[in-house]
Amino acid sequence: MARTRPAPVAAAGEQEQAGAQPAEAGLAGSVVLRGVTKRYGDTLAVKNLTLEVRSGEFLSVLGPSGSGKTTTMRIVGGFVAPDSGTVEISGRNVVDQPPFRRDVNTVFQSYALFPHMNVEDNVGYGLRRRGIGREERRRRVAEMLELVRLSHVPHSRPSELSGGMQQRVALARALVNRPSVLLLDEPLGALDRKLREDMQIELRQLHSTLGTTFIYVTHDQEEALSMSDRLVVMRDGEIEQLGEPGAVYDSPATLWVAGFVGASNQIPGLVRALEQGDAELESDVARIVAAHRHGELRVGERAVAVIRPEDLHIAHEHGEGPNRLRATVEELLVVGGSVKIVAMTAGGLELLARAARSSLESGELRAGAEIWITWRREAVHVYPWQPDGASAPDDGER
């Protein structure tokens, strides 16, 4: 799709309702969950979750395994019935409707293609079940295959295709039904990095071509940050934060989100003072002044300062004031145009900084060098200390 696209078939204009009942005008493609709870044995997979997905948006649901993101998606798809709460799709409560009566189609994690059917029959399955005539079916399948660039393999079996191609068959098989909402359950998880990046772009382009609402479940934070219009971060069955990717990255609502979304440095300390917007923290390694406060902070209590690696600056001379500390360079990792610096303070706190590669040229930045690290107060977010909040995500980064 990066190349010239064949006529923009099946465009948003001729979007037709897949479900039997027509949706209310304006609500097509919206999904509203209200008070949804799902329990498996002793575990609450989803806790009283309320979420509004806007019509036509690309919403990512991000969370570690066990956060309830897949259960939530399966509740929308109709594969899991919630214990309580309602699910509205395109303005209609579908909580007791089977999957095929919902204006939704799903792209499954492992593609779940039908191995005994060829590509064409896989894609045409939904249309055939819906009683759409042969000619019409053939036309729509052909259109869809062209859209996902698979026109050359209509008669291949799924097992004869590469992972990326299978993925596109799965997409076509869902989208050919023209659902108002498309659910994608970690669809790129099985692909290698390069292919995954290509598919991310293709998915974005498909989304803007079709105008379908995309709900995209992933545990890959980079993917979620780069692809979505809005982002839901889930943890233990609850929404930890909902917002635009930039907002979630720049201002994580909780310490846990700060640790889960993007890389971050976390410096524990005690709250010294709280003035207007600012918070002052005393830690073993530095005195920290932060412009952003989250949660309930009290003077004298433990707190954690969070700073993104790109906000840490390297200096070689001592300066004045707060927000600086002394550290030793442990490792330098050149990543394309930038360099990752792993530094260790005297107290044993490991920090990650990112700088332009040009800063290496002076030759002063090398493993073992003593440096000063500084940052601006606007770059610091302070959160109340949580026993489990500071732990690194188990599978947040690949």
Partner: protein, 285 residues
């Protein structure tokens, strides 16, 4: 052991199973084929090349038995399939934690001798046996039960005896179908029944074919069940062949019948193994 000797060993080893096959399998098979074209003398064999035996095997009473055997095996296989499919499906996809228990229950009968299990049915199906009592008690049937020594009894017996051989490969096939594929079927517009017919069952095809192979082949040669439960109406080709060899001492006629049944089974094996191939013959890198 010297390298030389172990080299020699390595060269000889493959011939051991081959020799085994030659002596115990290929030899008797060749002998059977040779005998099937021979003339019978009383209690002896006169080697020749004649189709007399085949003519006889494919005519009159013998032909009737031959066709009856195919009918029993064919119908028996289909009955097994009808009974085993829901059983295997439920164990594989719905049983949850009960699955191992149900699997063991399916296999328990195998721990007892086949002969004893079949004899037990003779008792159960007896004209005044426990099944009659139960049916009478439920008011479903009155008087004596006239099942023993009929075709029905034979069908009951073979379905019972071969059910695990059908159910196990089907179970494996159902068990290997990812839940997400079935969900995809439901997602794309088919309810339970249609999804089962369009997706689940076709995907279980390899197990289906294997199960049919494992039941049809031995059913064709079945000898014990028809003679115990079917009485004189139960004679099948297996019993007939045994009779030619053991009672009539007509080896060539018995051999020709054996070759005929072998041809039928060979055809069944060719067709069913072709069908039993999976869907992922060569994975693409």
């Amino acid at each position: 052991m010297s390298e030389r000797a172990s080299d020699a060993m390595a060269r000889v080893m493959p011939f051991v199973p081959l020799a085994w096959l030659a002596v115990l399998f290929i030899g008797p098979l060749v002998m059977t084929i040779v005998y099937s074209f021979a003339n019978a003398t009383f209690g002896g064999v006169q080697l020749a090349f004649t189709l007399t035996q085949y003519n006889q095997a494919l005519s009159g009473f013998y032909l009737t038995i031959f066709l009856r055997t195919l009918e029993f095996a064919g119908l028996g296989t289909l009955l097994c399939l009808a009974v085993a499919t829901p059983v295997a499906y439920v164990i594989a996809q719905k049983a949850g934690r009960l699955r191992p228990v149900l699997l063991v229950l399916l296999l328990v009968p195998f721990w007892t001798s086949f002969l004893i299990r079949t004899l037990a049915w003779e008792t159960l199906l007896a004209a005044n046996g426990p099944i009659r009592d139960a049916l009478n008690f439920l008011g479903l049937h009155h008087g004596l039960l006239n099942v023993l020594d009929t075709k029905t009894a034979v069908f009951i017996g073979i379905v019972y005896g071969y059910l695990p051989l059908m159910a196990l490969p089907l179970y494996v096939a159902f068990e290997r179908i990812p839940a997400s594929v079935i969900e995809a079927g439901k997602d794309l517009g088919t309810g339970r029944v249609l999804t089962f017919l369009r997706v689940t069952l076709p995907m279980a095809r390899p197990g289906l074919a294997t199960g049919m192979l494992l039941t049809f082949v031995p059913m064709t040669g079945e000898y014990i069940i028809p003679s115990l439960l079917g009485g004189d109406k139960g004679t099948l080709i297996g019993g007939l062949i045994a009779g030619q060899y053991l009672d009539s001492l007509d080896y060539p006629l018995g051999a020709s019948m054996a070759v005929l049944i072998l041809l039928v089974l060979g055809a069944a094996v060719v067709v069913l193994t072709r069908v039993s191939r999976g869907f992922d013959p060569e994975p693409i890198p």
